[in-house]
């Protein structure tokens, strides 16, 4: 297994969850408290007893959870350099140590059930901590597996969507159409096509820099402009976006392809696609808007595949930290994506280690 090669470890089937992700933290809190509720239900004698039991458990559980999460947040970069099983062991150790620490030094408040046998109590808490932790790790592993399969499917579909036969054959036909009169332009077109297809066919799931993605998208636009001439216009608005910001590859280009296929190509006079990229705080915002033919029923049935793939990839990579919005108007179509702003520095350091 390649460890720590990419920063989106979530994409690898056997990888620890990213403890710096808000979604991961929320899931841990929810599941742990769910287990606590289960325990409270098992122990209680009457309905009225349940909240009290729950309170007792939560009094011990909450500080353990929060302190463990904090520790894991700090240790995140180191954890991801370990192999999966070592990492899992380390996470378990953190959970057990924190459980015992809170139990030992937390005072009476954190000892909900006081027994006489001290060694039994200690062993019991250590075991409970390890078990809850293992259940959580198992859950994340299964979740990643599930999403990874979706990712594999998605990649195939994205591939097919990218090499939309329509695009491939029309572009080859267009290149043949200019090869006699403008051979140098035909050469550039073939080079652009090679770059685009290389990226689409690459099995690497690493993030790429915004600069790379913009370059690739511009090559794509050049190919489409070869066919459509000045019917296709693109307005780039890039504000405050550092070139080293990282995004999933082929995030922007499929949005453009949709805008061309369903929008500009359907308009006799063509139109202008507006692309906006900007950074606000810890977020990276991406917006693609295109005009489309006036239709009474604003439906876009054809482009669902590409959009669903993008959504699945965002879910897998960023969980709740990425947002995604589509607005389909009478004569326009707009997609907005917000992702966490990640810089390249972290990756290069991890890759060199």
């Amino acid at each position: 297994m390649s460890k720590g090669r990419s920063i989106n470890q979530n994409a690898l089937p056997d990888a620890l969850p990213n403890f710096r992700n808000l979604g991961v933290a929320l899931r841990i809190l929810l599941i742990s408290n769910g287990l606590a509720l289960l325990q409270a239900l098992l122990q209680a004698n009457a309905w009225a007893d349940v909240p009290q039991r729950m309170m007792q458990i939560a009094a011990l559980l909450t500080p353990i959870l929060l302190s463990s999460l904090l520790l894991l947040w700090v240790a995140q970069p180191r954890l991801h350099r370990l192999s999966y099983w070592r990492g899992a062991l380390a996470v378990n150790a953190v959970a057990v140590v924190m459980t015992l620490a809170i139990y030992a030094f937390g005072g009476d408040l954190y000892r909900p059930i006081s027994g006489d046998d001290e060694s039994f109590e200690v062993t019991r808490y250590a075991l409970l901590g390890a078990m809850v932790c293992s259940i959580l790790l198992l859950y994340f592993r299964l979740r990643t597996r599930g999403l990874s399969r979706a990712l594999d499917d998605a990649r195939l579909q994205v591939l097919r969507a990218r090499i939309r036969p329509h695009f491939l054959f029309n572009t080859i036909n267009a290149v043949l159409g200019i090869v006699r009169t403008r051979p140098d332009q035909a050469e550039t077109a073939l080079e652009d096509m090679a770059d685009l297809f290389r990226m689409a066919m690459s099995s690497e799931q690493d993030l790429v820099t915004v600069g790379q993605e913009i370059r690739l998208t511009k090559q794509y636009v050049a190919l489409e402009q070869l066919r459509m001439g000045n019917r296709l216009r693109v307005d780039w608005q890039i504000r405050d976006v550092p070139d080293d910001a990282l995004i999933p590859p082929l995030l922007l280009q499929p949005l453009l392809e949709n805008a061309v296929y369903h929008g500009i190509e359907q308009l006799t006079q063509g139109g202008c696609i507006n692309i906006e990229l900007c950074r606000s705080g810890d977020d990276l915002k991406l917006k693609v808007e295109n005009p489309c033919p006036l239709r009474a029923e604003a439906s876009h049935h054809g482009n669902k595949v590409a959009l669903r793939n993008i959504r699945e990839r965002l879910d897998l990579l960023f969980d709740v930290e990425a947002r995604y919005q589509v607005e389909s108007g009478k004569d326009f179509y707009r997609v907005e994506i917000v992702l966490p702003y990640i810089r390249e520095r972290r990756v290069t350091r991890e890759m060199s280690s």
Partner: protein, 254 residues
Amino acid sequence: MSVAEQALRVFIVDDEPPARNRLRDLLHDCTDQLALEVVGEAGNGQEALDRLMETPADVVLLDIRMPQMDGIELAQHLQKLPKPPVIVFTTAYDDSAIKAFELHAIDYLLKPIRMGRLFEALNRARATVPVQTVVLRELLPEPRRNLSIHERGKIRLVPIEQVLYLRAEMKYITVRTVEREYLLEESLTDLEKEFTARFVRIHRNCLVAKDAISGFEKGGEDSSESAGWMVKLKGLNELLAISRRQQHIVKEFS
């Protein structure tokens, strides 16, 4: 001069300039072996129809996927020309259409287009009978965007969204827009089937555009209780009678 010696007149329709370029190059290559002449080209359906009315062609190489009016709709309108040309469709990729073409023996060329295939298609063209409009209509899953009207030897396209109502009179259909009326030779039943999403039948001989209905009015002459409702139209001072059997639409649309 005999028919066989006359140069084949070819017309190109494609919305992409390089695709038209490519066809021109290939047609030029064919001239060594086949007498042909490129009589014109067009980038969209309306332009193609206008040019072909002026300069007739024997064969039209017609791209399927075009904005506004696709190739299959244009082919239907071209059938109304005095001497309909043979249509050879060109397409980059369209599974369903290709199956239908083969079923109906309609010639087509796949992009990127090869000279050999083009040559074959042109050679066959002289012997080919023009495609029937009925077949073309089957190929087109969506309704046409225009009606094509014969008028003084010309073909005029009337965008379907401009039509207020269609009324059968004798052997013609009256097509009414805000500006004027046109006469169309088609069957009202077929039109109703094709444009069912846009029009509603208010009478045995009349379909009204749903969007054009501005209200309803009780007609004075009819004394019977249930009859006598009339449709008021947007932008046109004319009332249309609703037949007794269609009275229910008053409730549905008011």
